[in-house]
Each structure stands twice: as structure tokens, then as C-alpha cells.
């Protein structure tokens, strides 16, 4: 059996449920979960700000080890440590998938939103969307990299080569991005929503902390 925290309807508390262990279908893997980050998107799912499948097991910053393989899986073995992400599956043949924009796939599946996610002891995943976790990160510290880090990284790339960055709202993504930006030699202004969330100074004067209403100096 597996255990999970399940959302039955928006606005309701998640409920601890027991279910039979899911068997991986052809080409799928089953992951025994060791850590799952809690993301603001999970909150939007639970509050009904966005609408996916119900009931659903939220969670999409999953770290675990593969404990069962479906038929035909060749790229992974039982015991491999993997990360499972928000983007859980894509169709592979729509115009977006064929033009390096699979993030905008016409028929995507999202982990913890339209397919069961990581607030659980186990989940199913597609090997194409499983990532090896680099050594040097333990499971718990790796979990926030998988959405806060990755979505943050995508935002960082889209910000181009600006030498000065303002991070508005200093949450999980910003606390990762600030480190990356400082490492790249950029100046970072962190503008937290609440004084209690102030980030720490990183590497001398490259990170400054202000208030959300402040303007980032040029």
C-alpha cells in the first residue's frame, strides 16, 4: 500500500489516504519518494485558483528512488535516484513540442495537478521527465531545485544579460536564483514581501535587500 495527502476539492484540507501501490504502465517507472518540496503552485491548486484533476495528490518537487520499472524501460534501473518535475508528460508532436517549446505543449500532463504527484510515499513517472540528481545534494536539499530552482532558472534566462537584477518577493525561487546571479557576477536586489523573509547577505555587497515597493537602482 502507499500513503498520500489527497485533495478532494478546492478549499478543503488535504486528507491522508491509503491506496494500493500503483503498478507502472509500459514505459513508466514507479518512484519511492524520499522528499517533496511544497511550492506556491500547490497552494494555488489547493485553494482552487487553478483547476486540474480531482481528486489529486499535489506535489511536484519530488526526489526519490525508482522501485519498479514498467515494460520497456531501458534508461533507468531500480534504485536510481531521480527528480520528478511539474512537467510530467508532453505529446511530443504538437507544434510547440516540435519547436523546443514543450513547456507550451497542447496536451501536457502536470505532476500534482493533472496526474498524481509527490505528497505521497510513491508516484508514477515518465522516464523522459525524470532527472538524475547531482551528487552533492541530499534528497531534502535537492527538492526545491526541481521547481523553485528550475522555474526560477527559466525566468533568469528570460531576463537576459542584465547586470542588475531585482527579485520581487523573496521566496524559494529567489533564494536559489540570488545565489546563481551572484555567482555570475551580477548585482542582485532582493525585495521581500515581508520583512521576516529577508534573505541573507551573499558574498559581500552583491546582494542588497530592500522593500517590495522599492525601485531597483540602475
Amino acid at each position: 500500500m502507499m500513503q498520500a495527502m489527497q485533495l478532494d476539492a478546492p478549499g478543503k484540507r488535504l486528507r491522508l489516504v491509503e491506496r494500493p501501490l500503483p503498478e507502472p504502465g509500459p514505459g513508466q517507472v514507479r518512484v519511492k519518494i524520499t522528499a517533496c518540496g511544497v511550492c506556491r503552485t500547490d497552494l494555488h491548486v489547493a485553494d482552487g485558483d487553478i483547476h486540474g484533476l480531482l481528486p489529486i495528490i499535489p506535489g511536484h518537487e519530488i526526489v526519490g528512488r525508482i522501485d519498479a520499472l514498467g515494460r520497456g524501460v531501458k534508461d533507468f534501473a531500480v534504485g536510481d535516484r531521480v527528480g520528478v518535475l511539474w512537467l510530467g508528460q508532453t505529446c511530443g508532436h504538437c507544434p510547440c513540442c516540435r519547436s523546443h517549446r514543450e513547456n507550451l505543449c497542447d496536451h501536457p500532463e502536470f505532476t500534482g495537478f493533472t496526474r498524481d504527484g509527490g505528497f505521497a510515499t510513491h508516484c508514477l513517472a515518465e522516464p523522459r521527465f525524470c532527472f538524475p540528481i547531482p551528487e552533492g545534494f541530499d534528497d531534502i536539499h535537492a527538492a526545491p531545485l526541481l521547481c523553485a530552482g528550475l522555474i526560477g532558472y527559466r525566468a533568469y534566462k528570460l531576463a537576459g544579460d542584465a547586470p542588475v537584477l531585482g527579485l520581487y518577493g523573496f521566496g524559494a525561487a529567489a533564494h536559489i536564483l540570488a545565489q546563481l546571479a551572484v555567482w555570475h557576477g551580477r548585482k542582485v536586489f532582493a525585495l521581500p514581501a515581508k520583512a521576516t523573509q529577508r534573505g541573507r547577505r551573499l558574498r559581500g555587497n552583491r546582494l542588497r535587500v530592500g522593500r517590495l515597493r522599492d525601485r531597483v537602482p540602475a
Binding site: C36, G37, W86, I140, I151, A172
Partner: protein, 80 residues
């Protein structure tokens, strides 16, 4: 201006002059596997230090509540 959230409150009006000079506002939708293949090794190289607070799986409601109240520094992580 890059907005990296799946849901946000409405954007208030602002002077057009702030958008002039080819400034832009855009959102980030989801991610690609390419992003993952780039970022995870980079995170190890930096190395990124994530600030985490582990909580038991059964405390998922409490974790969501803390996020709702902005009472989180770094990231909450559920451990089954």
C-alpha cells in the same frame, strides 16, 4: 519584467512611459527538459545551497498554511 508564477493577482494600471523603450513584461510557463539538463548540473557547480525546512508528509496542510501566510524562509519539504 519576468513573472514566474502560475497564478497572480491582477496587474494594476501603470504609465505607458514605463513600458516605453521596448521594455517588456512576460510570464514563465512551465519548463522544458532542456532547462533541467542545464540547471541541475549548474546548481551543483555553483554550488547552490538551498535553505530547507523538512516536515512530515502528514503536515502537508500545515505547510500549505505557512506558505499562505508568508511564514516561510527558503523552502518547506515534506518527508514521507
Amino acid at each position: 519584467m519576468v513573472c514566474a508564477g502560475i497564478h497572480m493577482s491582477d496587474i494594476p494600471g501603470f504609465p505607458y512611459a514605463d513600458l516605453w523603450d521596448e521594455c517588456s513584461i512576460l510570464s514563465v510557463a512551465n519548463l522544458t527538459r532542456e532547462d533541467g539538463a542545464e540547471f541541475l548540473p549548474l546548481a551543483a557547480q555553483v554550488p547552490i545551497r538551498t535553505h530547507v525546512r523538512p516536515m512530515p508528509l502528514g503536515a502537508a496542510n500545515e505547510a500549505l498554511g505557512r506558505l499562505r501566510n508568508g511564514d516561510v524562509e527558503g523552502a518547506l519539504v515534506l518527508v514521507p
